[in-house]
Amino acid sequence: MSDYRISHLAALEAEAIFIFREVAATCQRPVLLFSGGKDSIVMLHLAQKAFAPAPIPFPVMHVDTGQNFAEVIDYRDRRVAATGVQLIVASVQDAIDRGLVTEPPDGTRNRIQTPVLLEAAEKYQFDALFGGARRDEEKARAKERVFSFRDDFGQWDPKNQRPELWNLYNGRVHPGEQIRVFPLSNWTELDVWRYIGSEDIPLPEVYFAAEREVVDRGGMLYAVNEFIVPREGEEVFTEKIRYRTVGDANLTAGVRSNATTIDEIVAEVAATRITERGATRGDDKTSEAAMEDRKREGYF
């Protein structure tokens, strides 16, 4: 390293570690959102590296819709146990039972996660919530700050964002307000996969291609599971698929793939011509401003 150059992945890692440390040093009660999805897995890995040899100085929280892939919940629990970090589960099912939120007729719980998240943030008085969102995911996210201010209703106001200069992040809030912090802002999907490969980070099985029983709904392949029950007249067939993103098991579609290793996934991602949300997430297709609207309500 005599020329003092580093790769872009090393630069992105250094930036993310800086952000984790900045929050730990300046915010009162941070929490890391951890779902067992690949971005949050990378986040947990970076948090460990940021504070080593000390433990991660904040808990992790999962907003649990109750509609998860079983392998992902297993992975979550194993990973949390290995890390020794405290896990808080905010249950959407519990919130439905208590009447905080109402289950939509179509059974999708993506949108009703938000009040559950906000309630948990208030209960535990979290003032900084780490999320794994990236700016390359979606165009409303392209304008998101690394430190994104939310008012005491958890709302995002795109016209009233704090200017963000150099690496001087402003994490000041009044009680009840929050900062959402996105250390992976400048990463792309390919960066995340390459980093997982170079750091040798274990992942849940759903990310790797395997023969799965699927149904085709609107051109998207959904694996048959406890939440995806074949409708009448729907053909069930076997395809080799993997998941590019992991959201709710009833909403997330797989992609045809032969990739059974990280290197093979990297090669596929590098060649793909469709965004990961466009390819796999039924929840993002609602309208052109679907993401902006959800973020205004307090979604991540």
């Binding site: 003092y4 630069a11 440390r21 200017p163 690496n167 001087l168 170079s198 390819a279």
Partner: protein
């Protein structure tokens, strides 16, 4: 260096660049073309833009729709905020900070330029330099963006005429010599037709330079960093309090500038105590040297009282320790102007202090560079020279010499908003 870094050899260097200009200059078209031609645009993104464009009855697919992500931006047909875009080529990974060009968005341009290695300024070949081009060039030089590229766009509309290009190039070069522009490249392009964007244009054989993308891939940025002055702002103190690491005490931070090595003598500011670097650690193991932008943990040979906001440097090369700060300030707040005797919070490196405005020396007209010495306040998007007195000393350098220790932000203490950006002079 550790194995972890060397095992990432298939990855490449990162270049951050800021683009400035309005829709009229063809900036969005240019970005759209860079993304499209480098295959960073995905089919579903393209389909969505095409559908909206067709629905509005546009004659051609409006690439601006790719970057204007917010509802109000699409409704008004303008870019309001900084948008970040990503693409990579086999040579480099690029982060674009796409900023709006109008004067009412000066704060957004300053934001985008603050982290940029390179600034890309567009002019319309038919119109030549306009007030906005000069303003952009000035702001980029104020923010010390190390490289500047002027793209003379829409060459297809002036019949690829060399004389038109030369006139604009000469005019801009003359203007740039009055500014602090260390490296200027001027390229004739047509973003719409693709001339000199990714590939060299056959329509302009008289142009001897390279295409824009080729320039972005090759421009030498490794020596833009300050590798001379050791500055390590302490961000966080790591103390595990566990059995194995009972006496462990490490100073975590990102190297702002300079190269640090174990055994180096260091001075802690502001206390002035000296010690030696015992080790430089990361989760992947110890390092033989640390340099920007690495995030590391530094351990010292002696037990000193060091906390967040302190800075490690070399005894023979120290940062300035001062409570009286001279700075150029860009004001970013709509609600209230910067006022003489106003009190604010200031964040500088990892230090949080309070400051009072002792003097507003002048307000600068960013179009004419005229200094208005009668000014007593700075309104939204205005830039001026001010004197601050801080409650605690800042550990700083001139921004010209060190972007990391020369910049600060000003925060309104009542509502916590970021209201200004300062550059220490």
């Amino acid at each position: 260096m550790t194995d972890t870094l060397s095992s990432r050899e298939d990855t490449h260097e990162l270049l951050r660049f800021a683009t400035a200009g309005s829709v009229d200059d063809g900036k969005s078209t240019l970005i759209g073309r860079l993304l499209f031609d480098s295959k960073a645009l995905f089919e579903d993104q393209w389909d969505a833009v095409e559908a909206v464009s067709a629905g509005r009855g546009d004659e051609y697919t409006d690439l601006a729709l790719l970057t204007d992500g917010l509802r109000s931006e699409r409704e008004q047909g303008i870019t309001i905020d900084v948008a970040y875009r990503y693409f990579s080529t086999p040579e480099r990974k690029f982060i674009i900070a796409d900023t709006p060009g109008h004067i009412q968005y000066t704060r957004n341009m300053v934001t985008g330029a603050s982290t940029a290695d390179l600034a890309l300024i567009l002019v319309d070949a038919r119109k030549g330099l306009v007030e906005q081009s000069r303003r952009h060039a000035f702001l980029c030089s104020l923010l010390r963006v190390p490289h500047m590229v002027l793209c003379v766009n829409k060459m297809d509309l002036v019949d690829y005429d060399e004389a038109v290009f030369k006139r604009i190039e000469n005019e801009f070069s003359a203007f740039a010599t009055k500014l602090d522009v260390p490296d200027l490249t001027v390229i004739p392009i047509s973003a719409l037709k693709g001339d000199n964007v990714v590939n060299r244009s056959e329509n302009m054989p008289w142009f001897q330079g390279t295409s824009l993308l080729h320039h972005l891939e090759r421009v030498h940025i490794a020596s833009d960093r300050n590798l001379v002055d050791v500055r390590f702002p302490v961000q966080h103190v790591i103390r595990p309090h566990s059995g194995d690491h009972h006496d462990y005490r490490g100073y975590a931070g990102q190297v702002a500038s300079g190269v640090m090595k174990p055994g180096d003598e260091v001075m802690v500011l502001p206390s002035g105590f000296t010690s030696r670097i015992a080790s430089i650690e990361t989760a992947d193991g110890p390092l033989e040297e640390a340099f920007p932008p690495l995030s590391v943990t530094v351990r010292l040979e002696d037990e000193l009282d060091v906390s967040r906001g302190d800075m490690l440097c070399r005894p023979g090369n120290q940062a300035r320790v001062s409570q009286d700060i001279e700075a150029m300030v860009c004001w970013m707040d709509e609600a209230r102007p910067l006022r003489l005797r106003g009190k604010y919070a200031v964040k500088h490196t990892t230090a949080d202090v309070r400051a009072v405005v002792k003097d507003v020396q002048y307000q600068l007209d960013v179009n004419t560079l005229h200094r208005d010495e009668s000014a007593t306040e700075l309104k939204l998007n205005e830039i001026g020279r001010v004197t601050l007195r801080t409650t605690k000393p800042l550990l700083c350098d001139d921004y010209r010499r060190n972007r990391a220790t020369g910049g600060f932000i000003i925060i309104d203490e009542a509502d916590n908003r970021t209201v200004g950006a300062g550059i220490i002079v």
